[in-house]
Symmetry: C2
Subunit: 427 residues, 2 copies
Amino acid sequence: MAVHTVASSTSSTVDLGPAAALSCRECGHRVPLGPVFACEECFGPLEVAYDFSAYDTDTLRKRIEAGPASIWRYAPLLPVPEDVADKPNLNPGWTRLVKADRLAAELGVTGGLYVKDDSGNPTHSFKDRVVAQALEAARAFGFTTLSCSSTGNLAGAVGAAAARAGLRSCVFIPHDLEQGKVVMAAVYGGDLVGIEGTYDDVNRFCSELIGDPAGEGWGFVNVNLRPYYAEGSKTLAYEICEQLGWRLPDQIVVPIASGSQLTKVDKGLRELIELGLVEDKPYKIFGAQAAGCSPVSTAFKAGHDVVRPQKPDTIAKSLAIGNPADGPYVLDIARRTGGAVEDVTDEQIVDAIKLLARTEGVFAETAGGVTVGVTRKLIENGQLDPSKTTVVLNTGDGLKTLDAVAGTGLTATIRPTLDSFREAGLA
Amino acid sequence: MAVHTVASSTSSTVDLGPAAALSCRECGHRVPLGPVFACEECFGPLEVAYDFSAYDTDTLRKRIEAGPASIWRYAPLLPVPEDVADKPNLNPGWTRLVKADRLAAELGVTGGLYVKDDSGNPTHSFKDRVVAQALEAARAFGFTTLSCSSTGNLAGAVGAAAARAGLRSCVFIPHDLEQGKVVMAAVYGGDLVGIEGTYDDVNRFCSELIGDPAGEGWGFVNVNLRPYYAEGSKTLAYEICEQLGWRLPDQIVVPIASGSQLTKVDKGLRELIELGLVEDKPYKIFGAQAAGCSPVSTAFKAGHDVVRPQKPDTIAKSLAIGNPADGPYVLDIARRTGGAVEDVTDEQIVDAIKLLARTEGVFAETAGGVTVGVTRKLIENGQLDPSKTTVVLNTGDGLKTLDAVAGTGLTATIRPTLDSFREAGLA
């Protein structure tokens, strides 16, 4: 039934908690839980379908609040076994929601501005959330190797998660990646393989490997485990609402790479409404891109339903996907909720990184510069209402993209004397 | 009465919660709370004295457990006002206590091995804990500039904390620091001043500035605010015990730079015993140094009570204090508790960083390599009992000391074909 065979488990023995099946987002066709990602009927993307029918709202809320300070407090809403918190994993999540009053003052936001700072995750990006789901799926399907194609954050997240779980990891990257990024991924001791070719070549090779006997027992977190993996982004929505006191924000600004995160944040918010954990009221979702890779923003502004691929050229490497798989879904969500998709230049990204750092002490990756920069632009052009409660996502860590702010430096150089100090005008 | 005058507050109006006075560690002389650090009677170090007499154990435990997921759950035990969590600060702490079963297996630990991973703090080192205390003291004393001398982690922690609080920051560093470290500190937008000279020159200059009118209104976190600052390290002890289910560990391995952290971890454990929050039972504290800067380890092994200064030469820069102020206290604690002080070579530090990364997915700073490496050595030489519950501190993040593992790299480079993959022996 499934496109690929399941290594050592069938749906009847797979325990992924409330996950009941995989369901096609396009045609609704359902298949048993397994390491598959495309609908056999229409080739649409598969996503996890749940059975939440047994949950009572108050009991669920109390269970979550009594849970661990990690994404596993939401285990009843994720495709993971009930005892997931007891298994060796990185326990990501429950990152700080920073009330950003000084940033709000600079941007003119009066309705409450928050930064969800995912740099506090174990490998310092939101990728730990999604990889943690893929890891549980890999265990459930009997996979022994965790794998992915990556150009950065994901390589480290997969290497670290596999190390902690005692699984082999084998991560594929373009062979000419910067040395710093190679070190961050290689330190976890898994196999790190450089592919002679572009990132597209790396992806193509991974797809080939999945269909080959050589790839048997391999879970590619963002390919054959993608339906599970993607669910991890729902936890951003859960945490934001719980940290706001079980309230929906009015507006939320999410970065767009493949677009998956934005669609799952929306899914998470809708689930909380359906489960009665938050009040049912409108919210707006805004997408943020870099101008140098803005296929979704371009389509949004042109009123298109489809996304025309672009060749990325931006410092926001973690968002540089020129042909985003979930682009059409993002357009739909932005329009349905009354949001928008906007983009900012590399210069605006750098300015926004510095603005966030100097107002709130949060040093964001370039992707965080994109969301903060887009928030500013959306306020200026009147699309984002500054009188409403607004949450901006920072999905990564500035330490990983130091080059973006390499121009930052010393205010002054002085001799170690008070006279020299006074001459420099620092007193 | 105080050595320096208090900017805009006197002890009677200073609200630092349960902090009652400053008390000399040598002679016990007490002075009112203020920005002073040395005893006017004997020049011994001042530390915070508390009034915990009003606390009932059960009420206190419940209050802590109901508190925020940060160090502020322990506000009743820290020199901070009761409403500290509502003030703009980085809310550090409540970092992961990783049950390190795979590392335990490699080291032969059977009694339970845990890594307290402080890389999850906002600026990714334990310095956020101590700076957060200094920030509250600075606010209480009416200081408007937060300052420090630093060669790394502290500069970023101070810059970020001041930015978030809306205070000016002015951080002094040697002018020839590596560009990466300069960027990490400069990004928060405060003044970052390069001093033409060594780190010793920087420190000497800071002491001069404190005594000069030009330094009026300036809080140097690790000089005139040091008594408050140092208390932040107690929270490591509190968190470890609470995360173990309000149990004391049997053994704990702490890195030594100035030695302050180790003495405050001991103070925190003793407070928990005195408050009845944990059972009164013996525990052993072990100190960890790099061989290239091992004044305390050398003194311990020689049976000395005093510490002879060394000129540091090690990759563990964050521990490279050749003349550690709290060295004698560390020796006393290690001996009193039945612990030890040990050191490891740079090669052993690198091996330990890789060991921790490949077994637990935790990428530690060189200081974490020191504690893990020393733990291994202490087990090998029989000083640490592998059948007892042991906690190892990782106080910083590997992303900040990438050079230490720069040799780590690709397992293989292949063409994007299955044949090339098979030839490389990766299947």
